[in-house]
Symmetry: C2
Subunit: 360 residues, 2 copies
DNA sequence: TCTGGAATTGTAACCGGTTACATTATTCCC
DNA sequence: GGGAATAATGTAACCGGTTACAATTCCAGA
């Protein structure tokens, strides 16, 4: 063990012992300044890459920083600079592959730019959504990406009044306060209807739509769906709607009801389910009742999650570019944060019909 | 509109104008103190629920806090109190349902306790893992839950030296520094081997194992697998291993190789794939080549993700209780944080064979 | 009315950075 | 060598809270 070199230094009238050998625990900027024999302002400048530090000084301080393993405290930095390099993301559920793909994309882009992502999920409960939002705002995130449960809510009211950049994900509003990134659900619904109306058998007599939580995206899908059906009046079918069918299990359990109420085993039927996860449940239920897909019933889903091509009968579905939604949301929030750019932009990503076995 | 009441106050020799009518923008604790005519220490005590504040004072301050919509700045609070109510989570990938289920469980539990969760994914790249870790430590998280890529790494070295609570997820080490939550992969591998050896056809002549990135969990699974196979010497099969098969596409693309190298269309074969996602790819590849499952080839996966029961031929697989892993990791980190409990505990969750059509 | 201790509140230091402004050092030119 | 301009660094206030300790207020009991 070599001896440590000890020096005497004055600071604010006190005499300090400074030892070249580093503290084992947390060092702060004062320790570095002490070791380097400069003021903490200079160290701070080096840390910030401020060009008005003499090159030799910079090198010396940098050396000490590297050797000591000093890591600046970001809380202090954030408090003082009013910038946290943190973005908060709130979604309804994070296990749904639709969302987890978006989240993953956002995370990758943010991390590349050295931003931090905190995630909360509302699980479709408004109080949780609101609590998550408040928590993030108190934590002074630089920006928020929120997939709101509803457009009329305390959450939206608070967001509207807030001064930080906000992106609404998977939602659309005319309100000038919010940038929005969503897919064109109206078009998606149309695509589904168009497919149903143009594909044989032309004589199919009933169309059953299955949707979930009352949510803007689902309303839009159904609007687009009806719009096409109305326009296509000549072939107008009997349309029946089941709502609040939210999970795989819900879909599975819906089937007996369908069978008794709609006698879909005896007539040609098209099922449009506005969520692939639920569609898989419905499919499973139908197969268990020996209903042939697409022989007896055509089945059309929505989302094109990774697994919809791999299920028992691969799903014909409407694709949303979830990865792209995540990418745009992340790029957009970064742009707003870094360039203090308050321009509101609305993104509507096109959807696409993916033909698979369940309704070829 | 009523008039605002204006009062004169002295503070530090200066005369302040205090108006009862709240600032539109951000208020801080001093503003509240000014409005209430007390010092900020008292406001801080009210905020902290400190009992030694006179009841009438508390009510009055609380009223002002409520009316003004004041939200304390958590950065400042954290800096001063050295507690952030934030937990960092690092996993390899967040789109894999195995991980997203864990993440979701952790998030729910943390949020219930008003903790914040920040997520980073390493995407199997060590440098990204390390960067994410450093970032989180600089952000002074109260605890870390990490699913490490490898046990010998800078990441682990830094974690070992760190003083905050750490949970290793999906990994195991004897090291006394770390609490671990993982499933019993050795047992899982055994279960798979046992299933293969006990199920007809007893005469099957080859076993093909397909694994991914070199990762402790996979090594353990294969160890358990071999352990059973060795012990079960009488029925010993020819075992072949393919490594570094990581994704659905990798699995799909592996099939032509399997077919030419192993002639699995002419002999009885068991395929053990240590990841359900990959197993689905392999399955798809086999089906495209008209190999019957389980007729020609038995297929056994690993993880029991939500979708493994829903694919073309539902997968026989080894279940890991991912939700439980998340739950335990979250509860454990909270316990360590809140009770300053540095007791290291190792959790090994049992696995379970799930029989489905791919190898009944 | 006085006194001591409990209850309440205020004061000021501190957490660890950033930065406007002041101060000192250096360089350049006549 | 002197003085101005410029470069480098230091000083101190500030970000918005928490908290140890000091000061004040209150009230019962003597």
């Amino acid at each position: 063990m070599g001896l440590c070199s000890v020096t005497l230094e004055r600071e604010g009238g006190c005499i300090y012992l400074s030892v070249t050998g580093y503290k084992p625990g947390k060092m702060n900027i004062n320790d570095i300044a002490g070791l380097a024999g400069v003021s903490k302002a200079t160290v701070s400048r080096v840390l910030a890459g401020n060009p008005k530090v003499k090159e030799t000084t910079r090198e010396q301080i940098q050396k000490i920083i590297n050797e000591s393993g000093y890591q600046p405290n970001y809380l202090a930095r954030s408090l003082s600079s009013r910038k946290t390099f943190a973005v908060g993301v709130i979604v309804e559920e994070m296990t749904n592959p639709f969302f987890s793909k978006i989240l993953s994309m956002i995370e990758n882009i943010l991390n590349d730019k050295n931003y931090t992502m905190s995630i909360s999920s509302s699980n479709w409960v408004r109080e949780k959504e609101l609590a998550a939002l408040k928590n993030m705002m108190r934590n002074s995130v630089d920006g928020l990406i929120v997939s709101p449960i509803a457009m009329e809510s305390d959450t939206i009211d608070i967001l509207r009044k807030s001064s930080i950049p906000v992106i609404l994900l998977n939602s659309y509003t005319d309100n000038e306060r919010f940038s929005c990134v969503s897919s064109d659900n109206f078009q998606g619904g149309r695509l589904a209807a168009e497919h149903i109306c143009t594909v044989p058998p032309a004589e199919s007599v009933q169309v059953i739509a299955v949707t979930g939580y009352k949510h803007q995206t689902l309303n839009e899908r159904m609007d687009g769906f009806y719009a096409y059906m109305d326009q296509d009046g000549s072939k107008r079918r009997r349309i029946e709607v089941y709502e609040e069918i939210n999970t795989y299990e819900d879909g599975l359990n819906l089937v007996p009801t369908l069978l008794t109420r709609n006698r879909i085993d005896t007539v040609k039927t098209c099922l449009f389910v506005t969520n692939d996860n639920v569609a898989m449940g419905v499919q499973e239920g139908l197969l268990r009742h020996d209903i042939a897909i697409p022989g007896d019933v055509r089945l059309i889903g929505y989302d094109n999650i990774e697994f919809s091509g791999r299920c028992r009968v691969p799903l014909t579905t409407i694709e949303q570019s979830s990865g792209e939604m995540g990418r745009i949301a992340a790029m957009e929030i970064l742009d707003m944060i870094e360039n203090h750019n308050m321009n509101v932009r609305k993104f509507r990503l096109p959807t696409r019909l993916i033909l698979r076995d369940s309704s070829p």
